[in-house]
């Protein structure tokens, strides 16, 4: 693969199912060795895009290349260079973890000894060595997903597609999967990751593309995107509504942005750039001003807010 060739490229992909346009002029470029987040709500076209990249689905029009190979015309070559981890743990429930990895290794055309060795390495790396002999149906959700991830990495593919890798996992399992993805990225694997969670993209991705109605509506680094979306917010709920004006002035001073007040909920809210610094400044400042807060919350813009914001922007540009 020439150095300038992106790891993943999509040009004007279109795919429709009946009247639904799952992909509607989808463009994407992912640089080698980066983690790219594809962020969007259910039905935005994330999974369709990943299925096209993984050679599972033929687009109606447009082209897609993975590691330099066209996913339609050079599907088999692309398959040697990509790994796929879907929304479900696509492993055999009745086989053990080791048996699963050996089987997939053989299907990647490793020798029997090579498949065995690779299975051992991956079980070790994903901390499944102890349980490698048990049938997968006895695994926890996090273990299954780690095994699924391991199965996607048998050939150490240069490009890995992860379709909502943490959906349905508890926080601990989610952290385990995140750690595994970070290790892969550190080792130079290009990762395209779909997610519904801004936090997940923020944690893992170098760049993010926001997808809606089958096309990318915004993209950039997570920081750039957050600047466009608007920053995190601090919400303060006061004990007494009488303190609203004083608290609002105080928050405005700290954040450098006009604070909004909601008398009904005794709420003062302000966007902040440096969330932790603002918070640690705010709490003592409230105390020394003699203002009692019932609740102080730091929150990210919700995905709904992001989409409202971005789709509103898009309409402005288009209209």
């Amino acid at each position: 693969m020439p150095a300038e060739e992106p790891a993943v490229v999509a040009e004007n992909l279109r795919k429709r199912y009946g009247d639904t346009r799952a992909l509607d002029g989808f463009d994407l470029t992912v640089a080698p060795g980066t983690v790219h987040g594809l962020l969007g709500p259910n039905g935005a076209g994330k999974t369709t895009a990943v299925r096209v990249f993984a050679t599972l689905l033929r687009p109606d029009s447009g082209t897609a290349r993975v590691a330099g190979f066209d996913v339609v015309r050079q599907a088999e070559r692309a398959r040697y260079r990509l790994g796929l981890v879907g929304q479900h743990a696509a492993v055999d429930e009745l086989l053990s973890g080791r048996q699963n990895l050996e089987m997939f290794g053989r299907l990647y055309h490793l020798s029997a000894a090579g498949a065995r060795r690779r299975a051992g390495e991956l079980l070790e790396r994903f901390r499944l060595a102890d349980t490698g002999g048990k049938p997968v149906k006895q695994y926890s959700g996090g273990m299954r997903r780690r095994l699924d991830l391991a199965a996607g990495l048998i050939l150490a593919p240069p490009v890995l597609f992860l379709d909502e890798p943490t959906t349905g996992l508890d926080p601990r399992a989610r952290n385990e999967v995140w750690d595994a993805i970070r290790q892969l990225a550190a080792a130079g694997t290009t990762v395209l990751l779909t997610t519904q969670y801004l936090e997940e993209a923020d944690q893992l991705a170098d760049r993010v593309s926001v997808i809606d109605h089958g096309r990318v509506v915004a993209g950039g680094t997570t920081d750039e995107l957050k600047r466009r979306i608007g920053a995190d917010r601090i919400d303060v709920v006061l004990r007494s509504g009488a303190d609203l004006a004083a608290a609002a002035a105080l928050l405005t001073g700290i954040a450098g942005e006009e604070a909004e007040t909601d008398p009904d909920r005794r709420l003062v809210s302000v966007p902040v750039r440096d969330r932790m610094a603002a918070l640690s400044e705010l709490v003592p400042a409230l105390a020394s001003a003699g203002i009692t807060a019932e609740d102080v919350a730091l929150r990210r813009p919700t995905l709904d807010e992001v989409f409202l914001h971005l789709t509103a922007k898009e309409k402005e540009v288009v209209g």
Partner: protein
């Protein structure tokens, strides 16, 4: 981390070799399922044997074969054919589970031979059918069932039974890919069981109401059961009609027709997963 991988080969011979190697890998997966779940495996085998014993001993006393033959001799070929038809449930469950769980997608994203998924399924299910037949034959022999026309005819009978299983295999693959829901096996059972009993497997179609009797006579299961009875030299309930007079022909034609319909449908369905 360096890995040596076999570069995708363009030669037809190498492709054929990979098709068989990959197919065998998929077959071994099913064999490993059996080894990992020995109890389940034995229970599955014993289920067919139980049907045989139940009809042989529980109802057998109440059954009379018109030309005075032995009911056990009549029953065994019927249960053998019935078991081949019930095999559709095993194929369906395996195929739909893989499709639902994303295992099929994983296979399709691998650089393996695309035909191997089907070839492996086919080999594994046919091996399962051979083992089931073996268990039933042993049980039948213990019950006193015998074949009377020599070993070659008996082999031909087993061949017809496996042909019926092959037809059920393609039906099972097709339905599994269409529904992609292992739970739908319940619905399949509701369809398959009446079909199994609405045949000449246990009783003569002539004893049924006329319209049911003609359905039973047309049943592919009846054709195979009647043909194997003839080949084993076991008593039949040979009716007067053309259908009843040509069981061997029908036992070839019926499965061939089912395969001719469902094999292309299943393959098209598999290919269309990428649409």
């Amino acid at each position: 981390m360096t890995m040596t991988i076999t570069a995708p080969s363009r030669s037809a011979l190498a492709r054929l070799r990979w098709a068989f190697t990959d197919g065998w890998t998929i077959t071994r997966r099913d064999l490993t399922h059996w080894a990992n779940q020995p109890v389940q495996f034995v229970v599955n085998l014993l289920f067919s044997v139980m049907v045989l014993l139940m009809f042989g001993f529980l109802f057998g006393g109440a059954m009379a074969v018109p030309d005075g033959g032995d009911y056990q001799d009549f029953l065994v070929p019927g249960v053998l054919a019935l078991t081949m038809v019930f095999g559709v449930e095993a194929t369906f469950t395996a195929v739909s589970t893989d499709a639902q769980r994303g295992v099929t997608d994983r296979f399709r994203s691998l650089p393996m031979a695309p035909s191997a998924v089907v070839l492996g399924r086919c080999t594994a299910d046919m091996l399962g059918a051979v083992l089931t037949l073996a268990a039933l034959v042993v049980a039948g022999l213990l019950m006193g069932w015998r074949w009377h026309n020599g070993f070659a005819s008996a082999l031909a009978a087993f061949g017809l039974l496996l042909l019926l299983r092959l037809a059920m295999l393609w039906l099972g693959i097709y339905l599994g890919l269409v529904t992609r829901s292992p739970e739908a096996v319940m619905a399949l059972q509701i369809l398959v069981w009446p079909l199994g009993f609405l045949s000449n497997a246990f009783v003569a179609p002539a004893t049924m109401p006329a319209w049911l009797g003609s359905i039973a006579e047309w049943n592919p299961l009846s054709a195979t059961a009647a043909a194997t009875r003839e080949l084993f030299g076991n008593p039949g309930w040979g009716g007067e009609g053309w259908l009843a007079q040509h069981p061997l022909l029908l036992a070839l034609l019926w499965p061939a027709a089912l395969i001719a319909v469902f094999c292309p449908l299943a393959i098209r369905r598999y290919r269309n997963l990428s649409r």
